[in-house]
């Protein structure tokens, strides 16, 4: 299952990473070298073995959807330059409509 340049471009797109041609080509070689070592797994008999997403001694117990307040060192309003109606305002993108005109 060799990785191709198109594969690298595709997964870079999925991961929202911009790559120039030179870097994409070097990643083809790097990923193929790494994945060659991973082929050892294909030779392991895993019939009847349930995949595990994590290992806890007794699994992760359910918790109440509540907890103590998080002690904050500063007010929520200081996290971003400005807020409106309880929401943080983030920098406007040039492709977005004018927020003042839309409101």
């Amino acid at each position: 299952m060799a990785v191709t340049l198109d594969d690298v471009r595709h997964i870079a797109s999925l991961a929202r990473l911009g790559l120039d041609v030179e870097r994409a080509q070097s990643l083809v070689a790097e990923l193929n070298t790494i994945l060659e070592h991973m082929e050892a797994l294909s030779r392991v008999d895993t019939g009847g073995i349930e995949p595990v997403a994590g290992i806890g001694a007794a699994g992760v117990p359910l918790h109440l959807d509540a907890g103590p307040p998080i002690p904050m060192a500063r007010e929520r309003e200081t996290f971003a330059p400005s807020m409106r109606d309880g929401f943080f305002l983030v920098p406007r993108l040039s492709t977005h409509e004018d927020p003042e005109a839309a409101s």
Binding site: L17, L19, I34, V44, P51, G54, I70, L93, H96
Partner: protein, 490 residues
């Protein structure tokens, strides 16, 4: 250097001794913080020297120290009263930045403390600095930091290990007796071995990860460095235990690990897993391990040869699962919520420009590897398969511990610390974790302690216990340290 209750000599006391001096009013927390920061300056710990500390703030250290002194004067002195501590740069702290060794978070200051940091402060510790690390904890040498590589204080041409290399080096350089690191595949134990200090990875769930920037959530755990086993025991005791803010933290009782110091290991069965002593293991590392095993035997332990048959697949499993989880966890760094933002063509262009500029080469490589193994057509062959083999690795450990073995003893690393730039092939670097990542995959506790030196560089021996049996692990570590001497400098 003489041990003194003031000035530079304050760095020579163990964490417990210093806390006792502070509690009795015989040492000042402010003087202890100053001694630590002065030692950092003298050791060249900053960016133009060993590059092991990224951020420090003497004025904030004084503020914390004065609060500890005021508490002490009111009769409230914690077990770490006035003890300076260094914290890895991926564990959230107020005042000092939390940048994960990455350009994408450069200058970011958390509005809250991680639970482990809050507990350290409640125990009286003074956070004096944040330490250098491989970017987002992805690396085994601290060469992948966006702020330049860290150097090993014992031999500056060599790496300190990673990814928590800055914290390990800060303890080795005598700046602090206790430091926090984080583990995903060995990032505390491996640098501890390279720097000649003690490094502990607790059981998955033992320490709250609230405020630890996520890398691979099914593996991540905050760990502790100590100059001695006692320092590490005190540090772990202070941060362990259930935390309602972390649903993976476990409601298991926390022992006073320092009380595990006792003479004999009679009745303790220690397994020597043959897969960790392959024929091509550096004979000098093998000799040091054999000598340590002889000491454990002479202390009363029964040593048995055991087998963990799937060990040889652990690197492959780890380097599929960890990048897969990282590719998801690091999606949050997108130019909107945290740190760096580079404008591009529209929203997508902004995401791509920000992430491409903000992430370094190893992080980019792992995000792409993780995205690939999770993508349609490859999920079953790589990700699901790795999850199945992880189950087999965990079964290996469970079977050995169920057979009456209490602890395992192995080398921590296949080699001593290597030269900066010596490992340019990513997979060759990944092999640095070959003896450590199994404990993360199985969720069991493990620690590295110094067992000797090869060509002047430290060698680490690894003790592994069953889930939540850190006390047994510390008992053996205390006993071995007493025999070999703290730091095992021979």
């Amino acid at each position: 250097m003489s041990r003194d209750a003031e000035g530079a000599g304050l760095t020579e006391w163990s964490a417990g001794e210093l806390a006792d001096l502070v509690t009795r009013g015989e040492a000042s927390p402010r003087a202890a913080a100053d001694a630590s920061l002065d030692r950092a300056a003298a050791a060249g710990a900053g960016r133009d020297g060993l590059n092991i500390l990224l951020y420090e703030d003497r004025r904030d250290a004084h503020r914390q120290a004065d609060a500890v002194a005021a508490g002490r004067d009111r009769g409230h002195a914690g077990p770490l009263a006035g003890v300076p501590v260094v914290v890895k740069d991926n564990i959230a702290t107020t005042v000092l930045p939390t940048s994960c060794g990455s350009r994408i978070l450069e200058g970011y200051v958390s509005p809250f403390d991680a639970t482990a940091v809050r507990r350290l402060r409640e125990a009286g510790a003074v956070i004096v600095a944040k330490s250098n690390m491989d970017e987002f904890a992805m690396g085994s040498s601290t060469e992948n930091s966006a702020f330049g590589p860290a150097r090993n204080p014992l031999a500056p041409s060599r790496v300190p290990g990673g990814s928590s290399g800055g914290s390990a080096a800060a303890v080795a350089a005598g700046i602090v007796r206790i430091a926090l690191g984080s583990e995903t595949g060995g990032s505390v134990r491996q640098p501890a071995a390279f720097c000649g200090v003690v490094g502990v990875k607790p059981t998955y769930g033992r320490v709250s990860r609230y405020g630890l920037v996520a890398f691979a959530s099914s593996l991540d755990q905050i760990g502790v460095f100590g100059r001695t086993v006692d320092d590490a025991a005190l540090g772990l005791r202070s941060i362990a235990g259930l935390d309602p803010l972390d649903p993976t933290s476990a409601p298991e009782p926390v022992a006073a690990y320092g009380d595990a110091a006792r003479g004999s290991l009679a009745g303790v069965v220690i397994g020597r897993p043959r897969e960790y002593f392959p024929p091509d293991l550096d004979p000098r590392i093998r000799d040091k391990c054999d000598a340590a095993i002889d000491e454990l035997r002479s202390l009363g332990a029964e040593v048995r040869d055991v087998s963990l048959p799937h060990t040889g697949l652990a690197i492959q499993v780890y380097y599929i699962l960890a990048p897969a989880e990282a590719s998801s966890n690091l999606a949050r760094f997108d130019g909107v919520r945290y740190g760096l933002r580079i404008e591009g063509d529209g929203l997508r262009g902004m995401y791509e420009a920000t992430r491409s500029s903000g992430f370094g080469p190893e992080v980019t490589r792992r995000i792409l590897l993780g995205t690939y193994v999770l993508s349609a057509g490859y999920y079953d062959a790589y990700y699901r398969k790795a999850q199945q083999v992880r189950a087999l690795i965990a079964r290996d450990f469970a079977a050995v511990f169920a057979s009456g073995v209490h602890l395992l003893f192995t080398p921590t690393t296949p080699t001593p610390a290597f030269e900066l730039g010596a490992r340019s092939d990513p997979y060759e670097m990944y092999l640095s974790d070959i003896f450590t990542c199994t404990a993360n995959l199985a969720g069991v506790p493990a620690m590295s302690i110094p067992i000797g030196r090869v060509d002047g560089m430290p060698v680490g021996g690894q003790l592994v216990a069953s889930h939540f049996d850190e006390r047994q692990m510390f008992a053996a570590a205390f006993a071995l340290e007493r025999r070999l001497g703290a730091g095992a400098r021979q």
